[in-house]
Amino acid sequence: MFNLIQNEWLKIFKKSGTYVMVGLLLLIITIAGAFMKYQDTRASVPDNESWKKGLEMQNQSYQKELEESGDMMPAAVKVSYEESIAINEYRIENNLSPNQDYSGLSFVSDMSSLIDFVGLFVIIIAGGIVASEFNWGTIKLLLIRPIKREKILASKYITVLLFGGSLLGLLFLYSGLLGLILFGTADQPVPHLNYQDGMVTEQNLFLYLMKGYGLSSINMLMLATMAFMISAAFRSNSLAIGLSIFLMFAGGQITQLVAMKYEWAKFSLFANTNLLQYFEGTPMLPGMTLGFSIIMLIIYFILFQAIAFFVFKKRDVTA
């Protein structure tokens, strides 16, 4: 098994496209870092005396807007206003200035939005790892080895997971390293303020980051598994990559649209991939719980794997 994974890994890294992906990721982090450093030095004269006043004024304007628009306002916008108000109030009460020094950890936190970007690359790899063998015709030589087809497919899937994990690790380490070099460590640890069910709580920023990475990778895992399934079942990498990327960006919105009218939207994959909704903010549909989402995700995962393995095992290779 180790040999098979090594083979798949080498095949990924013998292609120049992979280096472009990794290079692009590092480049974006670097540019973002440089940009923020530049911004930081110019605007780092925080109005330390009157930040409380500023927040109060901000809250007043939010409040006014909330009252004026009343029911006209979409629920999502209303929630975000309420969240801002609650957090601002919490800051004023607990004397937590928003003008904290930008630390390395804050940079890592900002860069964690690139996890979606990593997801894109993982989908590209997952979508190509089986279908490409068919396109190249190499599948014939691959499947006439004394190794069961299931094992070959499993080695490919594990390689996709390893690749995704490595990219996430790279994102975390590189943004951490760059953040440390450019912004240093904060004098006092800055907590992350979390708003949920009308309550504001403080969280350790590092733990918050870990949670964010963990939960985002579940989203990535599901999309990569879907791309892998399409790749193995339909032998088309363009279909696998195209469909998965489309759903990655539009799946959430589409589900949200459907959810406005129909309740069954909660059974769709994309209503459940964002587990962060149970830790921050509110779930997409009432009646959804963390347990429900986890069970749905497990069902989808098993379904994808079953289709991939069944079709791949039975397929007549005529490529």
């Binding site: 040999n3 080498l10 120049s16 014939k140 030589l141 007549d316 005529t318």
Partner: protein, 308 residues
Amino acid sequence: METLVQIENVSKVIKGRTIIDSLSFKVNEGEVFGFLGPNGAGKTTTIRMMVGLIGITSGDIKILGSSIKTDFEKAVGHVGAIVENPEMYKFMSGYQNLLHYARMSQGITKEKIAETVGFVGLTDRIHDKVKTYSLGMRQRLGLAQCLLHDPKILILDEPTNGLDPAGIREIRDHVRKLAREKGMAVIVSSHLLSEMEMMCDRIGIIQNGKLIDVQSITDFVQADGSTYEIEVDSPEKAEAALKSLYQEVPFQINGNKMIVTLMKDDVPDLVKAFVHEDIRIFSIQETLKTLEDRFLEVTTRKGENLNV
């Protein structure tokens, strides 16, 4: 001679259409078996079934006694194959490709890889990327790939497709050498008859998914005697002499040459008769009926029988 491959009543039905219809044959140790048939006859499908790329609807294929259906890993471990074109990972070097396949079998050493590369004559270019290889070199790399694990059976599907004469000759030499020296059973498919004639010991002819004949290549070609071309000074006298000896023998006069179909044992008698008649003989040449003639004969004849 040991039977290495046994095809037992194999059929393949795809969407209600019978592609392969109860095929049975055996391939022995040390022999080159040619699998001959027009395009679309089912050669490639049969070969793909033998290596487990395509499922078998009914019947079974046994390789050294292990069924490809139920004991895939063991059965296919004895087989090295090129199915159609030897497609390799073009972005890797030839050596990396071989390493890749070596990792998928048990106990292939670096020395073994080097030895195989030497055998197919790729030592100079093995570290270049495959995309820079010519078709002939890719074919050689394909051969190296299937020899890595010392298989007992070598299956080559259309191995000379698209190769130039030098490349064809090279593959042919390799195939004969592997069968003679290593005692491998080699199964070669082709629609090129001339090539089969030079490479194979036995051939099986397949048409419309049915095996219509299996024969040794010499029997196949010489089934009805051979044709001899005799150059003489006087064809008229020769004709008279021949008629006095054999009444019913078909012959043809072409300039100074008499073309006659005889059994081998009759040739000395004819020569004696000619000498007796004072006919001067300049040369006698046996012109083997080509495989192509025979092939067309067999396929059309059997095809007609099948249609009746």
